[in-house]
């Protein structure tokens, strides 16, 4: 046992622990029990190992050892590919699909969380080596808090106001407020849609938000999350019963039409508000020169 053994073990432990904290199974049921979790904990362990040996390598003046971080980069890019491929395959069997933008967001999150594990392990080991165990523990807790802060993105309620509106028919056209959703021809189907359907208007708070909720992937993510949380009144072979989100071209509002099994407007508004703002959907139109004052 060398003087580096304990700090490395400590770093690996803290790194793996931080991965466990970041691995949450929530209403989206992802990752699923139990094998999916094992894969991610195991990859987190590997990441922690890579991070933990970084400090000792620097202190031993083994600077070329830094190149092993490139191994980590390619390793975790594979994680992203794995997540993307798995979720894309599974998406075909969802009643309301996640959509590619949401899948890409999840895949990116899985990759980046491994880098946060490397960071936690690295900081913990270095603090232990330079100072002592207690400073190491404090540094580990601080980096876990930092990881938690870095991994949590924005939510939809921060950029839009959400309002419940009863859907209605004008002839065969289905409307949420004044936003046209789709044409449903059969009177019987129209009754079904009115009985189970709920409409919501998302009003963007800023010009940037207008562009973000216009993104088709972001809209699909909303439909998927609402359908997952509140159930969906649809089956294969009933294409007319499809949740849809359409845009008002005049003011950028989005009309969301869903068919939840649990018709609770309050809950639905909360679920829509908690939908993550997808990284790939975020637009910063006002960052363009001369548009800072746009509302």
């Amino acid at each position: 046992m060398t003087e580096y053994t304990l700090p490395i073990v400590f770093g690996i432990f803290m790194g793996t622990l931080s991965r466990l904290f970041m691995l949450r199974t929530d209403y989206r049921q992802y990752p699923t029990y139990l094998h999916g979790k094992i894969i991610h904990v195991a990859l987190g362990f590997i990441a922690a190992g890579l991070g933990a040996v970084f400090g000792p390598a620097i202190l031993k003046e083994e600077f070329t050892a830094i190149t092993f971080l490139t191994v980590a980069a390619s390793q975790f890019r594979e994680v992203r590919n794995m997540e993307r491929n798995t979720l894309t395959e599974l998406d075909h069997y969802e009643l309301v699909t996640r959509g590619k933008t949401y899948i890409e967001g999840i895949a990116i999150a899985f990759e980046s969380r491994n880098y946060l594990v490397i960071l936690t392990a690295l900081i913990s080991t270095l603090a232990y080596l330079i100072f002592n165990l207690w400073i190491g523990i404090i540094a580990a807790i601080a980096s876990m808090i930092l990881s938690h802060f870095l991994m949590s993105g924005g939510k939809l309620k921060e950029i839009v106001d959400i309002e419940y509106v009863e859907p209605r028919f004008d002839g065969a056209g289905l409307y949420v407020d004044n936003i046209y959703i789709m044409n449903i021809g059969l009177p019987e189907r129209q009754k079904e849609v009115l009985r189970y359907g709920m409409g919501f208007i998302l009003k963007p708070k800023t010009f940037n938000a207008r562009a973000t909720i216009a993104n088709l992937g972001q809209r699909q993510a909303i439909l998927h999350d609402v359908s997952t949380a509140l159930g969906v009144y649809r089956d294969s072979g009933t294409p007319a019963l499809v949740p849809l989100a359409k845009r008002d071209l005049d003011d950028g509002r989005v009309g969301v039409f869903v068919l939840p099994q649990e018709r609770d407007a309050e809950k639905a508004i909360k679920v829509i508000g908690d939908v993550p703002t997808l990284e790939n959907a975020i637009r910063m139109s006002t960052e363009k020169v001369g548009m800072k004052n746009g509302s």
Partner: protein
């Protein structure tokens, strides 16, 4: 070229509107038209859209 949407069937009570190139179903009454449309919608896995009072199309989306 991939077609994303296409008409699978046309159901009408108006014999003057005869779209060519599709499965056309003439019906004697509005009730019959709705019944046939509902069945075709389920069979063809498409959505029934109403173009006018007497003309439905089943579209694959």
């Amino acid at each position: 070229m991939d077609l994303e949407k296409y008409i699978l069937a046309v159901i009408t009570t108006n014999k003057n509107k005869v779209p060519a190139g599709h499965g056309v179903f003439y019906c004697d009454s509005k009730e019959e038209m709705e019944t046939i449309t509902a069945n075709l919608e389920a069979i063809l896995d498409g959505i029934a859209h109403s173009l006018t009072e007497d003309l439905y199309v089943i579209v694959k989306h």
